[in-house]
């Protein structure tokens, strides 16, 4: 037996136990950290048609309101993607300079052919979540910023938040941290600064005031989203 198991093997059970515990801890910790929407989904930025649509230019630099394009966000669960004709309204051949042809040619082409543009979807909740109701969130005073991040600074839109269930519930349990006055919902730069300064200076007062206007506590039951 001693040939098969030299004395140095006496440490083996200890080493094995430590390694097992360590390995298990690493595996669990790894899974805990990596196997999450926060790790995999945040930062998701699919390639858009042509050079994509720059929210930085349109919503940021030009200061267009979100609802100029996402027209039905206050009426429908879906924040609709604009019709091609909306894009073409500004980007018609006659309206903007010729040097843009390279970048917006696909819009003009789609308009001429009466076809849609195949945008890639960035934000998606799983199929077992019924469509995220944009209208009621906007009506309650939840800014676009809270879920989509600082869109006005994104040349190409990427996913800024995890959209996981715990993330939803964080806000549904304490909605006041994300509520803004309803007329400021689409003013993302103001909202970002306001939420930051409010967190620093005024953690409760104005937020609580806004919460009063909610009428109902946001639902936390499963049936709010899963049915």
């Amino acid at each position: 037996m001693s040939v098969l198991f030299p004395k140095s093997f006496n440490a083996f059970p200890t080493i094995a136990a430590v390694a097992a515990v360590g390995g298990l801890t690493t595996a669990v910790a790894g899974f805990w950290y990596y196997a999450t929407p926060k790790f995999w989904s945040v930062g998701y930025m699919p390639t858009q048609p042509s050079t994509g649509f720059s929210h930085q230019i349109h919503a940021g630099k030009l200061g267009m309101d979100c609802r100029y394009c996402h027209t039905k966000v206050e009426q429908s669960p879906e924040a609709n993607i604009p019709n091609v004709s909306t894009c073409y309204g500004c980007h018609a051949e006659t309206r903007l300079a010729a040097w843009q042809t390279q970048r917006v040619g696909f819009v003009r082409e789609a308009q001429a052919k009466n076809e849609s543009i195949e945008w890639r979807r960035v934000h998606k909740v799983p199929d077992y979540v019924r469509n995220f109701p944009h209208h009621v969130h906007v009506a309650a005073g939840v800014s676009c910023f809270s879920c989509h991040g600082q869109i006005t600074a994104m040349p190409i839109v990427y996913q800024a938040q995890s959209l996981s269930m715990s993330w939803c519930l964080d806000c549904h349990r304490n909605p006041e941290q994300h509520l803004v006055p309803k007329d400021k919902v689409t003013q993302l730069v103001w909202v970002e600064q306001h939420l930051k300064s409010r967190a620093a200076n005024d953690p409760t007062a104005s937020a609580e005031a806004l919460k009063v206007s909610l009428e109902r506590q946001p639902p936390q039951g499963c049936g709010a989203c899963h049915y």
Binding site: S76, E118, C222, G223, Y227
Partner: protein, 1270 residues
């Protein structure tokens, strides 16, 4: 023993017949329920209570239901190995997030559409034989998904029938004709070949072909259309027949009986529709007329609604209720509602009608001596005479004058109809008025079709055009028609779905569905309503870019106009839009085009032309005409040993709706049979004719339950006038003796995958006879046919005391009584006391529900508001609430959803089931799966027969053959506040919501099915396979193999000669995935469930959530300053469809808001009021589950003179004494049970479905590895 714990029935003294309690066998007592003194049974098996049936009940799901593989371990390993390999291959690409595209609208966005929000458009559903329903169609981004009734339409008033609900599915039927098919006779060396064509080809062909009739004035041309009322089609018909006077035009419907039209012609000189107002009725006698069924009558929805309004009693002091007598041959919806029901063969119904007329007319002094003299004399028994005489006295009751009416079924002879008109006039009834019936609807089209077939055989026609009709299947002599039709050069068939006729035609044309086309319809009351398309024709020809091109598929009016030469200037066909507008310009009295637009748009918006609804006239009855018609009445009873057959159309009608799978799988009235049309016989008739399954007799109940427990029907051969058909038999108590009820529309051969080979084609038995066949010979064969009936599914494990009913006599006397509740926890609804209905049940016998533990869940909607400062100080229901325990859902702030279902008005029509199916993406599972108990309907309609409890001395004394009562009870998830399912779920997949919903979270469910096990109501349904994602009927893996193997194995759908392979019998896992077209019907607001998850009624949570959001967006504030969902703002799908308004859904806490409706101003929601009713009770309330759905007990209104049963009379004075599930009853002894067996011992041998499916896999594997398998 304290008195509170003691059963009152042991305290009080009972009537003399009451046996001691010990005599009541424990088993029986637990199994059989009682309905206020009447034994109620769901099936004879329940009464017989054999060990096999017990075994069946005690399983949560039938045996074998979970069985996946019946093969050996080796086979299992092989199959699993392959699955694992496939799964591995499939998962690898899954690491990447799939690329989802979003396609916005292009340069020309449609008007009005808000992506994500449905739009509702009004249109009209034309139904056979002049039926019309005004409907609203829910469209999601242009895709119709759901049909609702149009609130403005006088027929619907917001309600809808089974057919309307199901019609949307036929739009997406994958078996529809998709392109014209031309039979080129020259090809294939003259044998001919069918080639795909386009509508342009047909137009080109037609332009050359039809001008030849200009010369012949239409000789040689026959057009066969279906019977419907359309002003535009009538205009086209007029112009066509003017141009080609020698052409033959037949409006054909194979299910018709034109006796009613002939009867009104005899009485009034012209065929008339009756417009009956049942809302004021006091006494109604129906002579085999199923007037409450929207499927049987054009105004069935109106009748159901009006009649229901006379059946809701509330205040016992002013209780005023109609009384319905029904004499009928089969068992119909109307018979189920009857206060007195008499079973009689059709000839006997005629005899009784004659005797009734002879009794009544002289007494009423109607001057109808000639009529009385002309009526044939009949012999009827004393009890029958008593029935009609008491009924007649009731009808002639002076206090009810003007509010009584007699109605006759359309298959009764014309003379009976005429006599009934005379009686009604003599009764001076104000309930009925008459509207003229078009000649087309009044015509005897079966005779016309028989003539046409003969002429066709004789070569009189060279062109026959079938528009929406299918005579090759349902003509009186279908085979002769089909043969002659197939030989014609000019045979043209326009059809939405494929049919036997399109298969034989030279031109098989794919017609447009009513949701794809323009048209118009005329209701029997004269209402004109437009049909407008919801979606462009799905199967139009498309160009390379995918855009529709060329001639679009035509609707019936477009094709007829094209044939008639009514074309545009450039020779192209005019579309329905132009045609309808052209007709309507004259209808709307528009002087100019500009004048026309406004009323036209109004009509499209409203779904009808305002002001066209007629009220009818009251023409005088011509008694001489009645007498003449009465002379022709024949009482041809069937000879001894032979039967009278009644051919009665079901949901499939003449077969045109047969490929709608929702209809196929909807349990049929009375029998709960799905996917079949067995011949219905009474137990006695079946026993007399030897049609019981072998080894079963009435005396010796079956011992034939087999492992999988499918029932089977004996196949019999029916012969009439030399014509023979075979059909399986099914035994249904309540059918008249000596009668067989046959249902047409099944056994199609080319109707689509869902209906081909399903059921039996009995059409050829009828020939050109009326729908009553007297003298049908029956011969039992040795064959059996498996039948999937849901009647014994979802049994409540003996806790069946859930249906309650009393007579009005009891109600008026005792309904005011309430009983102090001895259970303070339960008494939520009726404020601390048990109401009348609750007192009737077990609850009054139940000891207090006292828990030793602090149970925060013992709080209810009636508890304190948490905003009350005393909330945590006052003990909740006797317990101190421990603030450290988890807070239960707070049921004290609104909205709190609840539902009530009124058993008094429920007719059992099934509209709720199918509306729920359409709304909630409930898949169809197929016959074999239904037989296994896997149907997924969230709301089931239980059928109970009931008889006299006291006469229940032994089982032989229960007369199966003649149930005294028939009850229907819709049961869905009742959303218990204290739900047993929730506490057993290991993964919290079913939890409670703050608004009273019992949530079902599909993505959490791991399929343990503990919840279904623990549900006392058995309302949970499990997805054994991916029913929602797979075709139930389409192509399937290994199709060829099954077809090659099946004959060797005796077939998979039954035995003997009935082994035609039907794809819907294929286990779902072998089926292919849904086509895109089938997915289009799915409601985007509801998850399509996957395999392995539980599902159940959700209280239409998608609708309640949407309603809450909508109130928020519209900033709807209650006058009281709180947020609020107004009553009626949200309706559940079942409630919205229910024709008799038996289902009410809403916020049970809404007690204060004022609403105005037709009945005036009311305070609080309707559901709140209904829950306070004396008739409201909770199913199994004594279990402390506290359901949110309450049922309202049924009240019948029997005529005291006809109630001979002394015990029933005694119950009028002592209702509570014997109530509850225990109490009175007699010893049972060990006498033989009277039993008719529905079950087939041989099925075990014959049912090879699962073994076969394994065989398919094995054979496939075998051929792959080149060897056999163990």
């Amino acid at each position: 023993m304290s008195k509170a714990d003691q059963c009152p029935s042991t305290v009080h003294e009972g009537p003399k017949h009451k046996p001691s309690k010990q005599e009541l066998s424990r088993e029986r007592r637990s199994l059989l329920s009682s309905v206020s003194g009447k034994v109620a049974w769901r099936s004879s098996d329940e009464i017989a209570d054999t060990p096999q049936f017990r075994d069946f009940l005690e399983r949560e799901f039938p045996a074998g239901i979970t069985e996946l593989f019946t093969g050996s371990r080796r086979t299992f390993m092989k199959v699993m190995g392959a699955s694992v390999a496939l799964a591995g291959a499939a998962t690898l690409p899954g690491c990447r997030r799939p690329d989802h595209k979003i396609l916005p609208y292009s340069a020309t966005p449609p008007e009005d559409i808000i992506p994500g929000k449905p739009l509702f458009y009004a249109t009209t559903l034309p139904l056979p034989r002049g039926g019309v329903e005004g409907v609203l169609v829910e469209t999601h981004e242009g895709r119709p998904t759901k049909i609702e009734g149009n609130p403005l339409h006088p027929i619907n008033r917001g309600k809808s029938s089974v057919l309307a609900q199901a019609s949307v599915l036929s739009l997406y039927d994958p078996d529809r004709l998709k392109a014209p098919v031309y039979f080129n006779r020259k090809r294939n060396n003259g044998a001919g070949e069918r080639v795909l064509a386009t509508w342009d080809d047909f137009v080109t062909w037609g332009k050359d072909y039809f001008p030849k009739f200009d010369k012949s004035q239409g000789a040689g041309l026959a057009i066969i259309v279906d019977k419907k009322s359309s002003p535009t089609r009538d205009a086209i018909k007029a112009s066509l027949l003017k141009k080609w006077p020698k052409a033959t035009w037949v409006a054909y419907d194979s299910t018709e009986s034109v006796h009613a039209a002939a009867g009104s012609k005899a009485a009034f000189g012209a065929p008339m529709h009756d417009l009956i107002d049942f809302s004021k009725a006091k006494v109604v006698l129906s002579l085999d007329r199923n007037f409450l069924d929207a499927n049987a009558e054009p105004r069935g929805l109106v009748h159901a609604r009006d009649f229901a309004s006379t059946r809701r009693v509330e205040d016992p002091t002013t209780a005023d209720m109609s009384r319905l007598y029904v004499i009928e041959s089969g068992l119909s919806l109307t018979g189920g509602q009857a206060d007195h029901r008499l079973r009689a063969a059709p000839s006997k119904v005629v005899a009784l009608a004659c005797e009734l007329a002879k009794f009544m007319l002289p007494k009423l002094g109607a001057g109808a001596d000639a009529v009385v003299a002309a009526l044939p004399s009949a012999t009827i028994s004393d009890s029958e005479r008593k029935f009609i005489e008491e009924c007649a006295k009731d009808l002639m009751d002076g206090a009810k004058k003007g509010a009584t009416i007699v109605v006759a079924g359309e298959h009764l002879p014309a003379g009976v109809h005429a006599a009934v008109h005379a009686i009604n006039q003599a009764l001076a009834t104000t309930l009925v008025k008459f509207a003229t019936m078009s000649d087309e609807l009044a015509s005897d089209s079966r005779a016309a079709m028989a003539t046409l077939t003969a002429d066709l055989k004789a070569g009189k026609y060279d062109t026959v055009i079938c528009v929406g009709t299918n005579p090759a299947y349902d003509a009186p002599d279908a085979k002769a028609f089909a043969d002659a039709f197939a030989k014609l050069e000019g045979s043209i068939a326009l059809s939405v779905g494929q049919s036997e006729t399109t298969a034989a035609a030279t031109w098989a044309l794919n017609g447009t569905h009513y949701l794809e086309s323009w048209g118009d319809a005329l209701a029997v009351d004269g209402t004109i309503s437009p049909i407008q398309p919801m979606i462009a024709p799905l199967y139009a020809a498309i160009d390379a870019a995918g855009n529709p091109t060329g001639q679009a598929p035509m609707s019936d009016i477009e094709l007829l106009a094209f044939i008639a030469g009514d074309r545009r200037a450039d020779g192209t066909a005019r579309d329905g839009f132009e045609l309808v507008r052209a007709t309507w310009k004259s209808k709307l009295n528009a002087k100019s085009d500009a004048d026309f637009e406004k009323p036209w748009k109004r009509a499209l918006h409203d779904g009808l032309v305002a002001g066209t609804t007629g009220t009818g006239a009251t023409p005088k009855v011509n008694l001489a005409g009645v007498a003449a018609a009465a002379k022709d009445i024949k009482l041809d009873a069937a000879p001894a040993g032979q039967l009278e057959a009644v051919v009665r159309a079901g949901w499939m009608h003449d077969g045109r709706f047969a490929n709608i799978t929702w209809l196929q799988e909807l349990p049929q009235f009375g029998t709960s049979v799905t996917w079949d049309n067995p011949a219905l016989l009474s137990p006695k008739t079946a026993a007399d004719l030897g049609l019981l399954p072998a080894s079963a007799t009435l005396e010796e109940p079956n011992t034939m339950y087999t492992k999988e427990k499918y029932p089977a029907g004996r196949v019999a051969e029916f012969e009439f006038a030399g014509r023979k058909v075979t059909c399986a038999c099914w035994i249904l108590p309540g059918v008249a003796d000596g009668v067989v009820i046959l249902t047409p529309g099944y056994g199609r051969t080319n109707g689509g995958l869902a209906c081909d080979g399903v059921g039996f084609d009995i059409g050829s038995l009828r020939g050109d006879a009326s729908s009553v066949l007297s003298g049908v010979k029956v011969t039992a064969t040795a064959d059996y046919h498996a039948i999937a009936s849901t009647q014994n599914h979802w049994s409540l494990e003996g806790r069946t005391a859930i249906v309650r009913a009393v007579d009005l006599q009891t109600y008026t006397k005792f309904a005011g009584e309430a009983m102090k509740d001895n259970d303070e926890i339960y008494a939520g609804i009726a404020a601390g006391s048990l109401n009348f209905a609750e007192k009737l049940g077990e609850l009054s016998h139940t000891p207090p529900n006292v828990s030793s533990y602090d149970n925060p869940y013992n709080r209810s909607a009636a508890d304190l508001n948490p905003n009350d400062p005393n909330y945590n100080k006052i003990p909740a229901r006797g317990h101190k609430l421990n603030s450290k325990t988890a807070q239960p859902p707070n049921f004290a702030i609104g909205p709190q959803w609840g539902m009530t279902i009124d058993l008094s008005t429920c007719t059992g029509c099934g509209a709720c089931t199918i509306a729920c199916q359409a709304e909630n993406n409930i898949p169809v599972v197929g016959k074999k799966e239904v037989a296994k108990g896997r149907e997924l309907h969230w709301i089931r309609v239980d059928r109970y027969f009931a008889g006299d409890y006291y006469n229940y001395k032994d089982s032989a004394s229960i007369n199966y053959n003649e149930p005294e009562y028939i009850f229907h009870q819709p049961v869905a998830c009742v959303h218990c506040e204290n739900a047993p399912c929730e506490v057993v779920c290991p993964v919290n997949a079913t939890v409670h919501g703050n608004e009273g919903h019992n949530y079902m979270v599909y993505n959490r469910c791991i399929g343990t099915r503990y919840c279904a096990n623990n549900c006392p109501y058995k309302v949970r349904r499990y997805n054994f396979f991916e029913y929602g994602l797979h075709k139930f009927n389409g192509d399937y893996v290994g199709k060829d193999l099954i077809e090659s193997i099946a004959p060797d194995r005796g077939g998979i759908s039954g035995s003997g000669t009935h082994n035609k392979i039907n794809p819907n019998l294929i286990p779902p896992r072998l089926r292919e995935k849904l086509d895109e077209i089938e997915r289009m019907q799915k409601n985007p607001d509801v998850t399509v469930r996957m395999r392995g998850v539980m599902e159940k009624c959700s209280y239409c949570i998608q609708r309640t959530n949407a309603a809450k959001i909508e109130t928020r967006l519209q900033d709807l504030k209650s006058p009281l300053g709180t947020s609020w969902v107004p009553d009626g703002f949200v309706q559940s799908a079942c409630q919205q469809a229910c024709p008799s308004d038996a289902i009410i859904f809403g916020d049970i806490l809404d007690t204060t808001h004022e609403y105005k409706d037709a009945d005036g101003t009311r305070k609080g929601s309707r559901v709140h009021a209904a829950r306070l009713s004396r008739r409201s009770y909770l199913l199994l309330g004594y279990l402390n589950t506290r359901p949110r759905t309450s049922h309202l007990l049924k009240v019948s209104n029997p005529n005291p003179a006809l109630v001979t049963n002394e015990h029933r009379r005694a119950a009028w004075d002592h209702p509570f004494h014997d109530g509850g599930s225990h109490g009175g009853g007699d010893g049972h002894g060990n006498g033989g049970n009277k039993e008719h067996a529905f079950f087939d011992e041989r099925r075990k041998r014959e049912d090879k479905g699962y073994a076969l499916s394994l065989g398919v896999l094995s054979s496939k594997a075998a051929s792959a590895i080149g060897g056999g398998l163990a």
